[in-house]
């Protein structure tokens, strides 16, 4: 990159393809990076390897029949996708969810947030080079969350648990004691995990000051979720536009200042701790009652449109539904938080090196199922 008068070494930029099959692009994501030596001049993202036409399929499924498809959007946070979609339909059709179901939904959503952030943090530190060790520790803990989900709905990854008007089935009696045991175990584990990594000099050197996203750029690009909060945008839908019963719980919103990879990593770990707090509060005094509102399986929503959004682990996940008084939505658009978060990638990586490209990309935490739909 230096073109001084004395050294006329002719260099030219070359294009490297970080292909759809790569050990570290999370999912089938392709980038064509223009490099000058090790320094990145520009990247061009290429999507579409996982495009399945889910929005088109929505127009042929009933409202309830679409729920399994929402599982496969961000397949690492299925409960959140289900929840977002159900909230959108309930807004559209004016359905009220019973209290017990609301509590259960909050518990599931927060457990899912912990599981999703485990993968995000683990994969990020793995990209930094800590050869799977923190990744596997977090996966060990994630297994406990998956065991809890298995207890409730029999599935480990794509749950199909939420229904329009509530949840599909009640929690078994052994669920709450197991959940309490998990919450009591997880908080000291997170503290220990942080202790290993928070002041690790190599991690600080790799992640601090790398891939900075300024505050104004984050708002401009429509970034949401931990990425935006790490840049100082104090916006969390659970506090700003509370859905379900989040306005009854006490929790903090961790924000960062610098907007670099290290802040994003810290924000996610802190969010895991806050999720444990919310679960602890939601676990107490779950009222008895039905777990599902009395709605027919085939819902016929009144004519109109609605937008329901939630704070998914990756950002603001929203569903825009247009109904024309039939059993299937006329249009279902999914606001993909991962795709919109990728808008900022190009400006975040310019000037950094190849090694940083992988880290910055990993710190945004995307899932291609949601990007491509």
């Amino acid at each position: 990159m230096t073109t001084t008068q004395e050294m006329t070494l002719r260099t030219e930029p070359f294009v490297v393809n970080f292909g759809p099959v790569h050990p570290s692009t999370h999912g089938v994501y392709r980038m064509r990076a223009t490099l000058d030596g090790e320094v990145i001049l520009d990247i061009e993202p290429v999507f579409g390897y996982l495009h399945r036409g889910i929005e088109k399929l929505a127009e042929e499924r009933t409202y309830t029949g679409f729920i399994p498809l929402t599982d496969r959007l961000d397949y690492l946070a299925s409960m959140s996708n289900n929840l977002g979609y159900c909230i959108a339909v309930e807004k559209l059709a004016g359905i009220k969810v019973p209290e017990r179901a609301e509590h259960i939904r909050v518990i599931m959503a927060e457990l899912q947030r912990i599981a999703s952030h485990s993968i995000a943090v683990g994969a990020f530190v793995n990209d930094c080079g800590a050869y799977f060790t923190p990744f596997l520790y977090l996966f060990r803990e994630r297994e406990k969350v998956l065991d809890l989900f298995d207890m409730v709905c029999g599935q480990r990854l794509t749950y199909n648990y939420m229904r329009i008007g509530g949840v599909s089935q009640d929690i078994p009696p052994e669920f709450l004691p197991a959940l309490e045991k998990y919450v009591n175990h997880m908080t000291p584990f997170l503290n220990e995990f942080e202790f290993f990594l928070k002041q690790n000099e190599i991690l600080l050197a790799r992640a601090k000051g790398v891939g900075i996203l300024p505050n104004q750029a984050a708002i401009d690009c429509g970034i949401s979720g931990p990425v935006a909060r790490a840049s100082g945008v104090n916006w969390d839908l659970r506090k700003a536009d509370p859905y379900s019963i989040y306005n009854r719980f006490e929790f903090d919103i961790p924000t960062g200042e610098a907007g670099d990879c290290y802040d994003r990593y810290r924000v996610r770990v802190e969010e895991m701790k806050q999720s444990l707090r919310i679960i602890g509060q939601a676990m107490k005094n779950i009222p008895d009652g039905p777990v599902r509102a009395d709605v027919p399986h085939i819902i016929r929503a009144p004519r109109g449109e609605a937008y329901g959004h939630i704070e998914a682990p990756k950002g603001e996940l929203g569903f825009y539904l247009v109904s024309d008084d039939s059993i299937a939505p006329y249009r279902c658009h999914i606001r993909p938080c991962s795709l919109i978060n990728l808008t900022a990638l190009r400006e975040m990586v310019r000037g950094w090196k190849v090694a940083d490209l992988i880290i910055i990309f990993g710190s945004i935490d995307i899932t291609m199922g949601e990007v491509d739909r």
Partner: protein
Amino acid sequence: MTVALPAGEIAGKLETKFPGCFEEGGKDNLLVKADSLLDVAAFLKDQPDLKFDYLNYVTAVDYYAYFEIVYQLTSLEHNRSIVFRTRAYGRDNPTMPSVTGLWRGADFQEREIFDLFGVAFTGHPNLKRIFLWEGFQGHPLRKDWNG
């Protein structure tokens, strides 16, 4: 709680600032004409008491006679949100001005609308197909697609 502003409040302000920007009967759901889209959008973004600086989403719906492009904006400062829309008539080559100059987040979303609906956005920095490959014929999310 994010207050979804009712259309009437904003419609009055917009009508005084940009007379004739609304379509016929468009005041109730903020249906803006395509040529005044950029002016209206810039006004909504920059006016200090409105300050809608965050674009939630840009999407399109196919209503056979026209494509309705829907925008939702949120003001982080005032914690308010608003939905406004515009229509692109015709099915052969519908066009619409692009708002990427105001909100960069619209970049990929407008490419998606172009890819799946065929609505071209003038002023977009890189308008090409995003999910389907170059050379794909047709636009799948249109209602008359039977590929």
